[in-house]
């Protein structure tokens, strides 16, 4: 039997898992696993034809389960997501080797479990991405859910509680997807991917609605879409540093992959658009778009209120997912490209940000935004990485986040959707506020006495961070590089492809050329520097040599503004949505509890007449209907 390229990749990934599983305890294990991730990346790059020209590569493994053929294959969509998965795993694993690993073991962490959980996550994600029919999709989905649980729970304590919450949501989502599969199977008698299309043609409006809700809800849980977002931030934030970077970069994008595959490619955006919400003017596509913008806005403003750097970033991860879905459901050339490009861009800057914060934790022992400050003089390179990351996250030029958000804005403008456009911009503005708080409270302001002797993060952590920063800048300068892959993905899922160039996109209604924009920006900085540095030399003063309204500052005086950072804003909006989603979650929990109590009561009361009565009632109802 000949091994296909996909077989090689999956075998490589399985081998990585086995190596982590069996020799994951030694200190060299981290490096070995990292090298194996590198091997996986090479195996993936051998399939690069998928990303550039499209087509499919099948695995030679096929199974027959109860008359259903299971198969696995890669196409442009899988390749694009696999590239991000393996890339972020490689860099996160590299980051975890050496210095971080040693400190993790010193603090009582189980490094074997960590490496195994990471390798398992990558392996299961690749299986999910390769799924060639609905059954293998479902199996992959469940595997990914449980692998994610393992990585989230391994820190114990708060993390384990967050992971429990995650797995509860994930299981409910899994059930919803299973329900969707059952619907499709009854309608078409098959679980091949094409079955969705045939089933959709046969189904009536109400059933189609049910299908969209089941799949959208099920996949949406993983993406952290509103109102299923509560699990995500604590679960990602409490994972050990490199794990957060990996999860934040790619994990919840599996939900978007499934939505792209099932709802966009097989179901079809046109079909979704034809589903009207009764008694209103909107259709199912608008509904998804509105869910997306609420997912952008509310978590972003929740992020702003966080006092822990990791939680702040994790909340933003939820919000940024909204942009991806928004772009994809707008579904014109710019929107689709913007949504998918944002998946790539988000992975790069989110991983860099989590790594920079982990580096700060490694040196100072805390990520509490009220207990840091002024670290730029001690950790300048980490500062630069965090700065590049937040510019990307906020979506400002010259970093890559700007390009993907620009595409999403443009699609909303072209389609004439002012409110969605406004909401998307509000999310960006909120992000700018929030990330300034992040960089200010960690790196700017007053350096604390206890951090006087902190030094820069070790090179084993620094190099992956710098690589990510370089990717963030280069793909911001030349978005044409990822757009070429995305063009194939768009073709695969049946969305229109924008007219892209190396520096951006061409369009008769306004183009973007980042090479020019960044060129003039840096020329502007150059002129500014010329003016600034040609003036008299400045003298560097100590941070305590500062204006304090006539008082003298001394080292024991804390002279830093960090708590309640946007007091004026919070004064106005603070009370608007406090905890409303927690109420919703508690409401559902109590409802389930109430129902189960009722059922239990019914079940325990061995009352023959009552059973007879209920059965009779059901029979009559069934006959009548």
């Amino acid at each position: 039997m000949m091994l296909t390229l996909l077989d090689e990749l999956l075998l490589f990934s399985g081998a990585t898992l086995l190596v982590a599983l069996f020799i994951g305890r030694g200190l060299a294990a981290g490096w070995m696993v990292t090298i194996l991730y590198g091997g996986q990346l090479l195996a993936l790059l051998k399939m690069a034809v998928l990303g550039y020209e499209g087509g499919t590569i099948a695995s030679s493994l096929t199974l027959e389960v109860m008359g259903q053929a299971l198969s696995w294959r890669f196409d442009a969509l899988s390749w694009f997501f696999a590239l991000i998965t393996i890339g972020s795993a490689l860099l996160s694993s590299w980051f975890s080797c050496g210095a971080w690993e040693r400190s993790y073991i010193r603090q009582g962490g189980n490094i074997w479990l960590f490496h195994t959980a990471m390798a398992l996550n990558v392996f299961t994600m690749l299986i999910l991405l390769a799924s060639g029919d609905l059954l293998s999709l479902f199996i992959g989905w469940e595997l990914v859910s449980w692998a994610g649980f393992l990585l989230m729970a391994l820190a114990g304590g708060v993390a384990a509680r967050a992971a429990m919450r995650y797995i509860t949501y994930a299981m409910a989502g899994g059930m919803a997807i299973f329900g969707g599969l059952a619907l499709i199977y009854t309608a078409s008698g098959s679980l091949q991917l094409e079955a969705v299309t045939t089933a959709v043609e046969q189904m009536s409006g109400a059933k189609l609605w049910l299908l969209v809700i089941l799949f959208g809800g099920g996949f949406g849980v993983k993406m952290g879409l509103m109102p299923f977002h509560l699990w995500q931030a604590p679960a990602y934030a409490e994972t050990p540093g490199p794990g957060s970077a990996f999860l934040g970069a790619i994990s919840s994008r599996m939900g978007l992959f499934a939505i792209l595959l099932v709802l966009v490619k097989l179901f079809g955006i046109v079909k979704i658009e034809s589903l009207k919400v009764p008694f209103t003017l909107i259709d199912a596509r608008d509904l998804l778009a509105w869910i997306a913008v609420f997912t952008i806005i509310l978590p972003t403003f929740t992020a702003m209120k966080q006092n822990d750097a990791r939680h702040l970033l994790a909340w933003h991860g939820i919000g940024q997912g909204g942009y991806m879905l928004l772009g994809v459901v707008v579904a014109d050339a710019m929107g689709g490209a913007g949504g998918l490009l944002h998946v790539f861009n988000h992975a790069t800057y989110q991983a860099a940000l989590f790594m920079a914060v982990t580096a700060v934790i490694y040196r100072t022992g805390t990520s509490d935004l009220n207990k840091l400050g002024g670290l730029v003089v001690r950790m300048p390179l980490s500062f630069v990485v965090l700065l590049i990351g937040i510019i990307g996250l906020a979506g400002l030029p010259p970093m890559n986040g700007f390009v993907s958000k620009w595409l999403v804005y443009r699609s909303l403008l072209n389609q004439g959707m002012p409110l969605l456009f406004l909401a998307a911009v509000i999310g960006t503005l909120g992000t700018i506020l929030s990330v300034y708080k992040l960089i200010h409270n960690i790196f700017l302001g007053q350096l604390r006495v206890e951090h006087e002797h902190v030094s820069e993060a070790p090179w084993s952590m620094m190099i992956p961070m710098l690589i990510l920063s370089a990717i963030i800048f280069i793909t911001g300068l030349m978005p044409g590089i990822p757009l070429e892959w995305i063009a194939s993905v768009l073709q695969t899922v049946g969305l229109p492809v924008p007219d892209y160039t190396l520096g951006g996109v061409e369009s008769s209604s306004g183009s973007l050329d980042m090479i020019w924009v960044i060129g003039v920006l840096f020329a502007g900085f150059g002129v500014g520097a010329l003016v600034f540095y040609s003036a008299g030399r400045s003298k560097r003063v100590h941070q305590l040599d500062n204006y304090a309204g006539g008082h003298f500052l001394s080292a024991d005086v804390r002279y830093q503004y960090s708590d309640n950072f946007y007091a004026g804003l919070m004064h106005l909006i603070g009370g608007w949505y406090r905890g409303s989603f927690l109420w919703l979650e508690r409401g559902i929990t109590s409802l389930v509890e109430f129902l189960s109590l009722g059922m239990q009561g019914l079940y325990r009361r061995a009352n023959a007449e009552f059973y007879l009565l209920t059965t009779a009632l059901f029979v009559i109802a069934w006959v009548v209907i």
């Binding site: 004439g416 406004l422 960089i439 209604s509 600034f532």
Partner: protein
């Protein structure tokens, strides 16, 4: 267009912006003086100030980021000018468009925010927190306005937006076609200048001039240059969106100065709002006007 011509335009556009910007600062000071019954500064005062600040002997730095912040504050605007078409010169306006321009205009403020952050003075940090909050306040109506204009013109390319307005003279100006958006834009523009009653982040009496608290010499000089560019960019952008751009330099400059004179004259009559009042005001009136205006664009 040849590469040399483009290069000359790219150099000339920021230079013109700087000179006009200095004259706008002068106008602002003269208006303030008139309202306060003073004589006001002489013609070259803005230039004297910039030269004086840059040649001060005592230049206090709080570190590299402090310096870079000032460089970014100036450089961001210098770059933004090349995306802003003026009579006879388009620069690289078609390679970016209005959305890119709006985002480039945020870079100076964020550079400044970084620089102020390293000064390690809570007054400065509070100032920046307030400035960013103010940005969240006025950018929301501004974005509605920009959406309306771009959607009506069917493009984000500023050159086309101006061409559409110039097609039929005064009749086709943005302000005549979309008066509600023009009013909302004017209010948002006033707030974006950070003048009274919206100068919450300078607030000399409460937070000791906020971002400027540790700025002296060439640092303050850099901020002065930034203000020249800011006045120019804001008013020219408004002229491009609503007043049909400029057909020649005379009418272009006349429109730019006049439109800037409106918020300036209002500013010196008012005291200062609180932060939450600014948010409430911006999110209520201009947003409402803007949304109605956008609705009219769709009709």
């Amino acid at each position: 267009m040849s590469a040399t011509e483009l290069l000359i335009e790219l150099i000339l556009m920021p230079l013109v912006a700087f000179v006009v910007g200095m004259m706008m600062v002068l106008m602002m000071r003269r208006i303030a003086a008139k309202l306060q019954r003073r004589i006001g500064p002489p013609f070259f005062q803005p230039l004297y100030d910039i030269v004086k600040l840059h040649s001060k002997k005592t230049q206090v730095s709080h570190g590299l980021i402090h310096d870079i912040g000032i460089v970014m504050a100036m450089g961001g605007y210098i770059a933004a000018e090349t995306l802003l078409p003026v009579p006879g010169m388009n620069g690289i306006a078609e390679k970016g468009g209005i959305i890119t321009l709006l985002y480039l205009m945020m870079i100076p403020s964020l550079g400044l925010a970084l620089g102020v952050g390293q000064c390690a003075n809570p007054n400065g940090s509070i100032g920046i927190a307030r400035a960013l909050t103010a940005m969240l306040a006025y950018d929301i109506p501004l974005v509605i306005v920009v959406f309306g204009v771009a959607y009506a013109a069917g493009t984000t390319n500023l050159i086309d937006i101006i061409a559409v307005q110039q097609a039929g003279g005064f009749e086709t100006w943005g302000a005549t076609q979309m008066p509600l958006l023009a009013i909302a834009g004017l209010i948002a523009m006033h707030a974006s200048l950070g003048k009274q009653p919206f100068e919450i982040y300078i607030a000399p009496a409460e937070i000791a001039t906020g971002p400027m608290v540790e700025m002296g010499g060439k640092y303050l000089g850099g901020l002065f240059v930034m203000q020249c560019f800011q006045l120019y960019t804001t008013s020219v952008l408004y002229v491009c969106l609503f007043l049909g751009g400029g057909t020649n330099w005379f009418d272009f400059l006349l429109k730019s100065f006049l439109v800037l004179a409106i918020p300036m004259s209002i500013a010196y009559l008012f005291p200062r709002y609180r932060t939450e009042d600014l948010l409430r005001l911006m999110w209520k009136w201009p947003v409402m006007l803007g949304l109605i205006g956008v609705a009219f664009v769709f009709v």
